[in-house]
Structure formats: structure tokens, C-alpha cells
């Protein structure tokens, strides 16, 4: 029975990772860059919802919408100021280091505004827990909402990429920027759109993460962000279903590792998974191998 409840917790945590990983994988697929600041947008999302709902006492729905919109704008701004000028830089290290700078910047701004103290996040999810097997297993409302949101987001995103013009433009840009531009696709606009979607998702992930684990610090986002990247690599970077599968598996591994091996080494176990994946199948579960042409 306890194994089953661990599995459910794992799927719940994995769903959050999956939502973050979706943002990572889309940005990586299209801009070919590791957006280190993605995890910190989650943290910003968490603080925004905290401010709107707990401090300003706005209605929950309005607070969420405002936070998602602001995070979306933040994502677009970061891309325009810090990443776009470096898109054709001679070294791919340049944009990577800038992304680390942005991540660090967001953390320290949050540190100065909100302080280093942990903020108690009141869950904004208002759902009754489900009891199974005569009260032996309780599934919290947060868990249910997280899993359902993840499935909805996954489905909508897949439909968006495959069925709409903007989604097709994303695929084209990720395949070949130059050719896409020649076909009349607005490359800069498409990349901005990708960052916007990724950051909006990050805000939702921040909301779900902080509802499930109700403590908020300026560093809340960085670990889940890195783990979500591990999930994206695990599932095959650039692939939307891959991010979903990778996220869920990673969540389960982490919770089981915490329960059966050591709670302090759970992070280490997750990173060990990354190293093993890179060792055995670097393209991930659903990734495609792309041959580089000269």
C-alpha cells in the first residue's frame, strides 16, 4: 500500500517536472540553447501568485491569470534583451553564460525584494482529497489537480504544435532557421512565442509546485529547474511526449529514492540518472539522432 502511495506522489511530482520540462524542451528545440533561467521563472511565478493571493488578497483565478501573463512577459523580455543579441555569436558558450547570469539575476532580485526567509505559500488549489481502499490511501487535491493540469497542458501543446500555423512554424524554425526564414516565417517572432509559452508554463508549474510543497525561497526554482532539464534529456530533448514521459519517470525515481534509499541523497540519485542516461543513450527515450553536416 505504501508503495502505491509513493507511486502516486511520484506521478504528482513528475507531472510538475513534466510541465517545466515541456518549457525547457521547446526552448531547447527551437533556440538550441539551455535556458538556465527557466527554473527561476518558476520561482518568480510562485512569488507573484503569493503576492497577489496572500498579500493583496485578490481572487485566486485573477491572481493566477496575472501571474501567468507577467511571467510570459518576463520570458519574452529575457529573450529579447539577453538571448537574442547573442543568437549568432561565434561561441555557443556566450548565450549559456548569459543564461546563467539571468538566472542569478532573478534569484538575487527576489532575494533583495522578498528576503531570504521562507514564505509559507497557502495552497491555491481548492479540491477535496480522494480516499481509496477504505481510507488507506489519501490522494490530496493538489495531486489530482497537478496530474490533470499536466495531461491537459500536454494535449493542448501537442495539438498546438501539430495543428496550428504557429506551431508548424515552430517545427520549421527548430529544423532549419535559415530555410524557415526564406519560407516567410518570422523567426524572431516564433522564438519569442516559444519563450512566451515556456514561461507561461513555468508560472503554472510554480503554482503547482508551491501548492504541493508550500515553502517559497529565492532558490525554490533552481533545483526543480535542473531536474526538469534532466527529465527533458531523459525523455529526449526537443520532444514534447518525451518531456512528459521523462518527467513522470524522474518524479517516481525521486520519490522512491527518498523513501527507500536516503532522503538526503535523493537529489544525487536523480543526477546519477542523468549521467547514466548520457552514458547509455544520450538522445534519450524518444530523441532523434541528428547528424551534423559540414
Amino acid at each position: 500500500m505504501s508503495l502505491l502511495s509513493y507511486l502516486i506522489n511520484g506521478i504528482s511530482l513528475g507531472s510538475v517536472y513534466a510541465i517545466i520540462a515541456l518549457g525547457y524542451t521547446m526552448v531547447y528545440g527551437i533556440a538550441k540553447m539551455l535556458n538556465f533561467a527557466h527554473g527561476d521563472v518558476i520561482m518568480v511565478g510562485g512569488y507573484l501568485i503569493f503576492t497577489f493571493v496572500s498579500t493583496l488578497q485578490l481572487p485566486v483565478g485573477l491572481g493566477i491569470v496575472l501571474a501567468v501573463v507577467l511571467c510570459t512577459m518576463l520570458g519574452i523580455t529575457i529573450e529579447a534583451i539577453a538571448y537574442r543579441p547573442l543568437r549568432n555569436a561565434a561561441s555557443s558558450l556566450a548565450v549559456l553564460i548569459t543564461a546563467i547570469g539571468v538566472s542569478y539575476f532573478l534569484q538575487n532580485v527576489a532575494l533583495i525584494i522578498f528576503g531570504a526567509n521562507t514564505k509559507a505559500f497557502t495552497s491555491v488549489v481548492n479540491a477535496e482529497p480522494i480516499k481509496l481502499f477504505g481510507d488507506q490511501i489519501t490522494i490530496s487535491g493538489e495531486t489530482i489537480v497537478t496530474i490533470i493540469s499536466c495531461i491537459i497542458i500536454m494535449t493542448v501543446l501537442t495539438l498546438f504544435v501539430n495543428r496550428t500555423k504557429a506551431g508548424q512554424a515552430m517545427l520549421a524554425v527548430s529544423e532549419d532557421k535559415g530555410a524557415a526564414q526564406l519560407m516567410g516565417i518570422n523567426v524572431n517572432g516564433t522564438i519569442s512565442l516559444t519563450f512566451a509559452i515556456g514561461s507561461g508554463l513555468a508560472a503554472i508549474a510554480g503554482l503547482l509546485l508551491c501548492s504541493a510543497y508550500p515553502s517559497l525561497t529565492p532558490y525554490t526554482g533552481s533545483m526543480p529547474g535542473i531536474k526538469a532539464f534532466v527529465a527533458a534529456v531523459f525523455g529526449g530533448i526537443g520532444s514534447i511526449p518525451g518531456a512528459f514521459i521523462g518527467g513522470i519517470i524522474l518524479g517516481i525515481i525521486e520519490i522512491l529514492g527518498k523513501a527507500y534509499i536516503s532522503s538526503q541523497l535523493a537529489d544525487a540519485i536523480v543526477f546519477l540518472v542523468l549521467i547514466l542516461v548520457l552514458l547509455i543513450k544520450p538522445t534519450g527515450i524518444l530523441g532523434k539522432k541528428v547528424q551534423e553536416k559540414v
Binding site: 540553447m33 539551455l34 539577453a82 543579441p85 547573442l86 549568432n88 555569436a89 561565434a90 561561441s91 555557443s92 558558450l93 556566450a94 548565450v95 549559456l96 553564460i97 548569459t98 546563467i100 547570469g101 539571468v102 542569478y104 539575476f105 534569484q107 538575487n108 532580485v109 532575494l111 533583495i112 533552481s222 535542473i226 532539464f229 534532466v230 534529456v233 536516503s262 538526503q264 541523497l265 537529489d267 544525487a268 543526477f271 546519477l272 542523468l274 549521467i275 548520457l278 552514458l279 544520450p282 551534423e292 559540414v294
Partner: protein, 353 residues
Amino acid sequence: MKEKKISKNLQDNLITIGIVVVGYVIVTILSASGVLSNLLQGLLVPLCAYIILAVSLNLTVGILGELSLGHAGFMCVGAFTSAFFSKCTEGVITVAPLRFILALLIGSLTAALIGFLIGMPVLRLKGDYLAIVTLAFGEIIKNIMNVLFIGKDSAGFHFSMKDSLSLNMEPDGMVIINGAQGITGTPKDSNFTIGVILIVLTLLIVLNLINSRDGRAIMSIRDNLIAAESVGIHITKYKLMAFTISAALAGVAGVLYSHNLNSLMATPKNFGYNMSIMILVFVVLGGIGNIRGSVIAAVILTLLPELLRGLNDYRMLIYSIVLIVMMLYNWAPNMIAFRKRMANRFSKKKEVA
């Protein structure tokens, strides 16, 4: 022509080493005349460690063209293995310099071994994987060091991942690594002079590597991997070589750092992600690929916040802005073109006048 080029390299290297030696002489005179505050004096050995770290990271970032975010992790490995060794052998080897040299070898070789093991799977891949794996590695090492307990008694070594009681030691036993409390009472075998000697050694190793056949092979991989491969350069071998040397030097910094501390703990502040980022800021500010720049940037950025105490709250924020602005200024194609235009305009004006 060839001879002239070599002598220019030599001259450049001599200037870099000269700067370090002159810095050492000035600091020694200042500290002998009592001008330096206690705070600054306490900062001298960590400063040496930071300089070594910055030079070693520059080898990875600037010369090899890969990003390592776990340099603090390699430093941590070097620090803990060497402090462990020194503490175990404190009663056996009583000559401090000999003990330090052995500790140095152990610390740097362990760090090199781990760098090699991590580099082997990761450096074969393309893309940004090294950054994320080294970041992960740094966190793993920090986590492990916080739950590791090792004790020694008449029956030998005891090992536990839980707490010091579960080591089951004889009454005469001594806990050497005490989980989150780390290692206390490492003999203070390092000092500023040793630190400077190690800096000079590090510089000699790195500068010689850069100007050697191997160094040119490494830089050719950075500049164009496919072209380098097509002229027969063994990509993985040279990448691994640079990365392993870089890890070993980070280990040296760790040895220096740990033998200056009474209690060595793996906190996020000294061996975590923050430390790795700080070293990266040194490298970026000093100029990626510019070894002398790393030395100077490490000195300035370590001393400046100490002199301007009020800035301490904003220190990390300023670091992050420095990182972003420097990268945009140095690498954005539009910015490079703009700077060239500006330079042209100014030089033309001079001709007219």
C-alpha cells in the same frame, strides 16, 4: 619568424608570472609593516585558491570551449580527500611540508580521477551537457559530503552514511569526517607563500600547455570541431586531457583552501553552485581564454567587496549583471560591429586632425 613568436609567448608568460611575484612581494612588505588588516590577511590564502580555480576554469572555458559549473565540486573533492589524509597522518608524518606535498598529490590526483570519470561519458557528446552534468556533480558531491561519516580506531576505518554513533567505534576511536560538521582540526599546513608557489606552478602548467602541440590541438577543437577531426586530431582524448588537468588544478585549490581552515564543511557557500558561478564571473570578467585576466579579475573581485563592505548585500546581484553585460559586450555580433565602427570613427577623426 618562428623564434620570434616563441619568444613573444615566453615574454607574455613571464609578464603574467612577474605580476604574481610582484604582488607577492608587495603583500609581504605590507603585511610585515602591519598595514594589512587582520581581515585582509585572513583572505590571502583563499584568494590564492580562487586564483588557481579561476585559471583552471579558464582552461576549460576559454581554451577547451566547454562550460564546467562544478568546479567547486572538484575543489571540494581535493579539499576533503587531502584534509582527510593530513588528519590521519598528522601523528605519523611530522614534517609539515612533506605532509602537505603528499596531501597535495592525493587531493589533485583524486580530483583528476573524478574529472576523468565524469568527462569520459560527457565529453563525447555535443552540446551543453558538460555544463549540466558538472553542475549535477557539484551538487552530488556536496550532498554526499554532508551525510558521510568516517572514523578511525585501533581496528581500522569505519564508515557510515547515517550518523557518527552508527560508526560502532572502539572507545579510542576518532571521528574524522563528521557529516555536515565536516573535518575539524586539519593541520594548518598552507600559508600565503605556499599559495603563491602553487599559483606560479599552476600558471606554468597551464601556459605551457596552451603553447604546446597539445594545447594547439585543444584550441583547434574549440574553434572548429569538424575541421579539427578531419585533420586527425583525437577529439575525445584532447578534450579529456584538458578537462582532467583543469579538474586536478581545481583539486589543488581545494587542498590549499582546506589546509588553511580549522573546520572544513561542505556548505553551499564554499563548495556549492554559488562558488562555481563566482569563479565563472572571474573568468568572464578577466576575459575568456585570457589567463592573466583571470588572475587580475580574481584579485580585484575578491578584494573589492571586502573593501566596500556596504555593497555586500548587492554583491551577487552585481556579479550577475557583470556576467550578462560582459557577455553581451564581448560576444554579441551587433555589439562587435558597433565597436568596430566606433573604433574606425575615432581613428579617422585623429587622422583629420
